[in-house]
Amino acid sequence: MGQGKGEPEVSLRAWWAQQWRWVQWAEFKPALGLMRREIKDTMRDWRILAPILLLVTVFPFLANTAAAEGLSFVNQYGANLIIERMFPFLMLVVGFFPSTFSLVIALETFVGEKERRSLEPLLATPLTDLQLYIGKTLAAIIPPVIASYIGMIFYTLLLGFTLGWWPTVSLFFVAFVLSTAQALVMVSAAVIVSAQSTSVRAANLVASFIIIPMALLLQAEAGLLLFNNFVGLWLIALALLVVTALFMRMGIALFNRERLLGQEIDQLNFTKGLRAFWAGFWPRNGLWHLYRYEVPHLLRLLRPHLVFTILVALGGGALFGLWAAQRFPLPTAAMDFSQYADLETFSEAIEASGLLSGFSTWTIWGHNLRSLLTATLLGFLSIGVVAVLLLAAPIAIIAYLVPQMGGMGINPWSLFATGVLPHGIFEITAAIVVTAYALRLGTVLLRPPEKDGGMMDLARDLGQYCKLFLSVVLPLLLLAAWIEAEVSSRLMISLLSGL
């Protein structure tokens, strides 16, 4: 290769780097070709171009006029701080409106082509699913985002030159990042909708599920701007970027040429869904087979989610609790052990705290049941995040309290062994299983469909969850509740009353 002696490692690395760049470029280049075509097409559609141009040119003037009028009005009452805090909000609004067109373009991107029957020739080319997805997503994002940047810059210049108000660099920067992140979320969600819909009309109907939360978010941003809370704005931007990443992952996982072409009618197939649920739920060969084969199989299936739950919820919760115990130690007199004098006093104290209606096996069991079902629901809606946090919270509390008992003359290990371990070993196990399953349910649409589509996978997973819940979680919770009511509490009282 014409390389000098003594340089083989460097040249090999360079060669590999070159190959890698080439592979990446080869993957990306066709996507860029598709993106160029789509952008060209968008720029030739006056129905998209005209409103964007109006929003970029006329709307900043309107916003600026509104700001000027507002300023002169509130100046009469010396409340100019309020309107000055609203200037950046108007900047966000000026940026938000053009970026909503990204939604229109993205919604149209697959299903519109399908309606015009131009999708099939495109699908018959050697473009990969990823290239199609990247090309179309970029094409939907770039024109509206550039338009929103132009609108925001224009508004800022108008505001600066007419009212003499200039945003700080950090405000300007966060406004741009927020606008971009909002457009990214809308596009990534709309591409999923477009790829799963059968008509543009159906896609537009579903789009309200995207635009309404975004409008609410804009109001939340207004509130944060009013209180000059930049950290909150950055956190929103970060959350939006995380949601974008998840939506993109979901979009790529769910992208399916066959579904794009094959599905003609939007319908929820309840019978098929019910059948998938039943297949996941009902034990195939009686109870012995259920516990001998099906439950271990389900737990094996859950292995990555279990590992994640144990590491993040248990490990993370415990570390956070221990850190908090170091950072914010309880004063010695903070704990009142008089309520642990006997079981009756303890039960009354629990009842008075409002945590439980009474201290018995059934109330504890009911409470835990409700908590875990709520965790599942919230976990499903939050890609598993809330479920993990709900498990991490009590672990953190235990990890926070137990080590501090030493300072109060109680052996923490004894307290842990008597008050937590006897029932906790069953209760926490049940909670780990439920949290892991909530994580699986929450991420079901992020992974490629296993058999016949994401919704059927969800129905099957839900059936399996119910099976595991009834066969494992429910008995574990019942046992834990009985131990907690009858054993742990007595052990703990005998330990604490001896103080």
């Binding site: 070709g33 598709l34 030739r44 559609d45 029957r117 050697p126 066959e258 098929k272």
Partner: protein
């Protein structure tokens, strides 16, 4: 070059393609004939690696359509049922985009587009927006798109639909020119004349199954019986001619045609021998024979006979399609 083995496609509740067995060799043109909803387009979509078979398998140019879809799509040219053009692009831009999507270098695709434009007589209109094209012109652009990468396998779904007779003739001539020893072509069509003209082999598909397949001549023989011959007489009076002909072949019809000429029609599966014997006998008997020729039997007759047969077979639970497929 194209091989389908028990190729099956089941949508939610519809069995669109039901265990097709077909092979198309390089240099061969196969016409898939069938009524609407018979499974022709689904078959083409599976062969172009857009849809995945639910059972069985197919290979195209040596690649499996399910597991090597990218390689298949690189080698196949698909003319879709509808041209599906981007209305706001010019013909030149459109073809350039698809050339790029197929990985052709800029210079190569420009040269190829120019060649195809000459071939399809579209050179003067490629700078116009596709939305301004007539249906025939749109179909020509779609065909040019299909041929951009000079594919080894061509799948043409209704190639001359919506075309005026002149453009349809051009497309049919193009398909005839595209035949080569290296290329396999499948045409889906309702146009029986077109199928007969272009195809080496015809497969009639109904409800996702191949009802019957073979060369046009084989199908005619199989479904319509032995060739039908007609001998016409220039002088009136068939005295003795009917009994003479019936000594050699089974008489089908006797009558007078629109030009007042009397004729006798007979069937024979050995026309070479029988025709000369009949002719010799008639001439020896002093009959004034005007002509002796085969009565053309259209593919339409074959189709109209094959499809109702399959319906009857279906009703009886004796699917000829299954046996044909198994064969």
């Amino acid at each position: 070059m194209i091989e389908m083995v028990n190729l099956t496609k089941q949508f939610e509740t519809v069995l669109a393609v039901d265990g097709i067995h077909l092979t198309v060799q390089p240099g061969e043109v196969l016409a898939l004939l069938g009524p609407n909803g018979a499974g022709k387009t689904t078959t083409v979509r599976m062969l172009s690696a857009i849809l995945k078979p639910t059972a069985g398998h197919a290979t195209v140019a040596g690649y499996d359509v399910a597991s090597q879809s990218l390689e298949v799509r690189r080698r196949v040219g698909v003319l879709t049922e509808s041209p599906g053009l981007y209305q706001r692009m010019s013909g030149q831009e459109y073809l350039d985009f698809f050339g790029e999507a197929r990985g052709l270098a800029p210079a190569a695709r420009q040269a190829r587009i120019a060649d195809l434009a000459d071939w399809f007589e579209m050179s003067g209109v490629l700078d116009r927006r596709l939305g301004e094209y007539s249906k025939g012109m749109a179909q020509k652009v779609a065909l040019m798109r299909t041929l951009l990468h000079d594919p080894a396998v061509l799948l043409l779904d209704e190639p001359t639909s919506a075309m005026d007779p002149q453009s349809a003739r051009l497309v049919r001539d193009t398909i005839l020119q595209l035949r080569s020893t290296q290329r396999a072509i499948i045409i889906c069509t309702h146009n029986l004349v077109e199928a007969e003209e272009l195809a080496d082999r015809i497969a009639i598909i109904r409800q996702g199954r191949i009802v019957v397949q073979g060369s046009p001549a084989e199908l005619k023989t199989r479904l319509l019986g032995a060739p039908l011959m007609e001998v016409r007489f220039s002088q009136p009076g068939l005295n003795g001619a009917v009994s003479l002909v019936s000594r050699f072949a089974q008489i089908e019809d006797v009558g007078v045609d629109s030009t007042k000429m009397e004729f006798i029609r007979y069937r024979t599966d050995r026309p070479g021998e029988v025709n000369s014997a009949i002719l010799a006998a008639l001439l020896a008997a002093g009959m004034s024979v005007f002509s002796l020729s085969e009565v053309p039997q259209s593919l339409e007759s074959v189709y109209l006979r094959a499809v109702p047969r399959a319906v009857v077979a279906d009703k009886q639970g004796l699917s000829e399609g299954t046996s044909a497929a198994a064969a």
